[in-house]
């Protein structure tokens, strides 16, 4: 429940979302802090990409911070999170350090995958951040397997798996949901519905609404405004508790919007969406601005405090970038490490002829 306010509400007549969603001021301020870190982190990644410090495909989460903070922050440490390739901030939300994520983007030995995965493949076993997957929809059956393990071992953790709106057209999505329903697995399937898969509007590739996609499998479908971090937080707090209590698999249409191009190599707008549409979304649907207004209305923060918070976020992002930049490249000995967990002395495993038993080239 909301705590007693120390400062006066700016507009006492407006309903207070903190009260409505049962979120304390302190928690709301934390969500603000988190989202600012995500935003500044991604902006730093964008800068680093522009000067060639980051390579390959790099998909930013700018505009979708509310979805990450709101759905992951209510989870417990022993809950699992799995995602696709637009996953930097989700990894941060689950507790992977900004340094480890940025170093991974830079391809450094200190990165969460030692520099071998890159932007699309952030993994961190310790925080149960299960990746970072590059094949659209590929992660959905995997998360179902994690749900299977939880049930198999009689644990009470849950899994959240994220996918883009385009992923629901993959066969594996439907196969996975069906199995989760048959076996009542504790999996929350979340579509981060930013309305487009690359340049294709969802309405062009589906005749049914997103929220209905799980219905044929007997899995409840929910629709949540992912730009409103408070609504999202309250929803996932309650949903995770239900799933933990045995409610079975759930499907969430988490509506959001991407403010940048599909990846760093794609235009922000073009034939598929207009500049005006993007500008309007940035004005009206910015999750950070929306929470700022709520907090200011509630008298929970003022401009100076907000700026200070933002300054801290910028510092965290800057520190992560500095850390990554100063980190060593993976050494050549890393090349053949971890292809297999066990090397059988009696048989040959590597065949490139570049070194004995695939040693350093």
């Amino acid at each position: 429940m909301a705590e007693t306010k120390t400062k006066a509400r700016r507009n006492p007549k407006k309903p207070d979302p903190l009260v409505q969603f049962g979120i304390s001021e302190e928690l709301a301020l934390n969500l603000m802090r988190d989202m600012l870190v995500y935003r500044r982190f991604e902006e730093k990644a964008e800068e680093a990409y522009a000067i060639g410090k980051i390579g390959g495909f790099c998909h930013l989460h700018i505009g979708q911070e509310g979805a990450a903070a709101g759905s992951i922050k209510p989870l417990r440490d022993d809950d699992y999170v799995m995602s696709a390739y637009r996953e930097h901030t989700q990894a941060l939300a689950k507790g992977v350090t900004p340094n480890a994520v940025m170093a991974e983007l830079f391809g450094r030995a200190t990165g969460s995958s030692g520099g071998k995965g890159g932007s699309m493949h952030i993994f961190d076993a310790k925080t149960r951040f299960m990746g970072g997957h590059g094949i659209v929809g590929g992660q959905v059956p995997l998360a179902t397997g994690i749900g299977w393990k939880i049930k198999y071992r009689g644990e009470d953790s849950v899994v959240i798996v994220y996918m883009g709106d385009a992923a629901v057209n993959q066969g594996g999505f439907h196969e996975a949901l069906n199995m989760a329903a048959i076996w009542q697995l504790p999996v929350i399937y979340v579509v981060e519905n930013n309305a487009y898969g690359m340049g294709t509007a969802f309405s062009r590739v589906s005749t049914t609404d997103m929220v209905d996609k799980s219905r044929a499998h007997g899995i409840p479908g929910h629709s949540v405004n992912g730009q409103d971090v408070l609504e999202t937080y309250a929803f996932f707090r309650d949903l995770a508790a239900e799933v933990r209590g045995g409610a079975g698999p759930q499907f969430v249409d988490l509506r959001t919007y991407r403010f940048r191009g599909h990846s760093m190599s794609d235009p922000v707008s073009g034939t598929y969406r207009s500049v005006e549409e993007v500008e309007r979304a940035k004005e009206q649907l910015d999750p950070i601005a929306m929470l700022r207004d709520t907090l200011m209305d509630a008298g929970a923060i003022d401009q100076a405090a907000l700026e200070e918070m933002d300054q801290d976020a910028r510092q965290i992002a800057q520190d992560a970038t500095d850390f990554a930049d100063a980190s060593p490249l993976p050494g050549p000995e890393a090349l053949y490490a971890n292809v297999w967990a066990e090397i059988n002395k009696h048989g040959r495993l590597f065949f490139d002829g570049r070194g004995a038993e695939g040693g350093t080239p």
Partner: protein, 326 residues
């Protein structure tokens, strides 16, 4: 002759073949409104309309199967994979349906379908997006595999693939799309499948390769020239059908060979070629045939590791020196 990019050459081939035959249509992710993820289909939507240039959902298994069914019923689909990395989702329909249909039906259902898109590594795209996939397709009887390395080959071979009555995996190079080269303007410029091309001539050693790797082979040949070593660079252009005559001719001329490919070594294309050479030209060899491939590991992201993992001209020069016992 016009100078075109590889991308433009593919675009011309598609346009000309769609003009020539109303049964040819193009389907895939982002091929229509977005002009293709790599802009290969630029302008085709405007030219042919949305019945023939079709944006699909991200449903690789589904639209590949749809293509195979349409081909069974008489159309000539061109199915674009945004990259062949994503075609793993669809390989069941390529191998189990397309490649076997003609045989299983005792010739009742020809399979005039092209599966095309880029294969192989680009730059720092990491393990799931950097795979040379040709071996998966050439392994299956019934499937043809084409890997053009120049704009002219891209155009002539794509036209041949579309006119062919068998399923063709047509595998482009993501890093080749901007490559420029001379391309004949002729509407009927078709390069038959199964004909290799000698891209560089020399008597000392044969570097045999396919696809994007011809450029690495040519680079190696240049380096070797400086050492007074003259290499044949044979571009197979199609892996299946395979121009065995051309392979044997160059090996019989130089008596030494190196196979260069972008993919992994184990049961790779080179393994097949080396086996054929020793079966059919053993007495002509003065040294074992060596292979140069990607390091036998998933592709790492870090730039320095990626460079180490990819086959390079230096690797080729090293292998050539070995077969020359230098």
């Amino acid at each position: 002759m016009a100078v075109l990019t590889y991308r433009e050459a593919l675009n011309e081939a598609l346009r000309e073949e769609m003009e020539r035959d109303p049964d040819v249509f193009l389907m895939g992710e982002e091929v229509a409104q977005y002009d293709g993820a790599y802009k290969v289909s630029k302008g085709l939507l405007q030219r042919f309309g949305s019945e023939r240039v079709v944006d699909s959902p991200i449903s690789e298994l589904g639209f590949t199967g749809l293509g195979v069914g349409a081909a069974m019923a008489g159309l000539r689909p061109v199915i674009e994979f945004m990259t062949f990395n994503f075609a793993f989702l669809a390989i069941d329909q390529v191998i189990n349906s397309a490649a076997k249909m003609y045989y299983m039906s005792e010739g009742q259902f020809p399979m005039p379908i092209v599966f095309r898109g880029p294969t192989g590594a680009a730059l720092q795209l990491s393990a799931q997006h950097s795979q040379a996939c040709e071996t998966y397709y050439s392994h299956a009887p019934g499937c043809k595999v084409v890997t053009p390395g120049t704009p002219a080959d891209a155009k002539g071979l794509l036209k041949a693939a579309i006119r062919d009555n068998d399923p063709v995996a047509f595998m482009e190079g993501e890093l080749l799309y901007n490559l420029k080269g001379e391309v004949p303007d002729d509407d009927d410029f078709v390069i038959p499948l199964g004909v290799a091309d000698l891209k560089h001539e020399g008597d000392d050693v044969s570097i045999i390769t396919h696809g994007k790797m011809i450029h690495v082979a040519l680079q190696a040949a240049q380096k070797l020239e400086k050492d007074g070593i003259h290499a044949d660079v044979l571009d197979l252009r199609t892996i299946r059908p395979l121009d065995m005559d051309a392979i044997l001719a160059t090996v019989r001329k130089t008596n030494r060979a190196v196979y260069l490919e972008e993919g992994w070594p184990y049961a790779g294309t080179g393994a097949q070629i080396v086996s054929m050479i020793q079966e059919e030209a053993f007495d002509d060899l003065d040294a074992p045939v060596l292979r140069v491939t990607q390091a036998d590991i998933p592709m790492p992201y870090a730039k320095n590791l990626e460079i180490l993992a990819k086959p390079s001209a230096n690797h080729v020069v090293e292998a050539v020196n070995k077969v020359l016992y230098r």
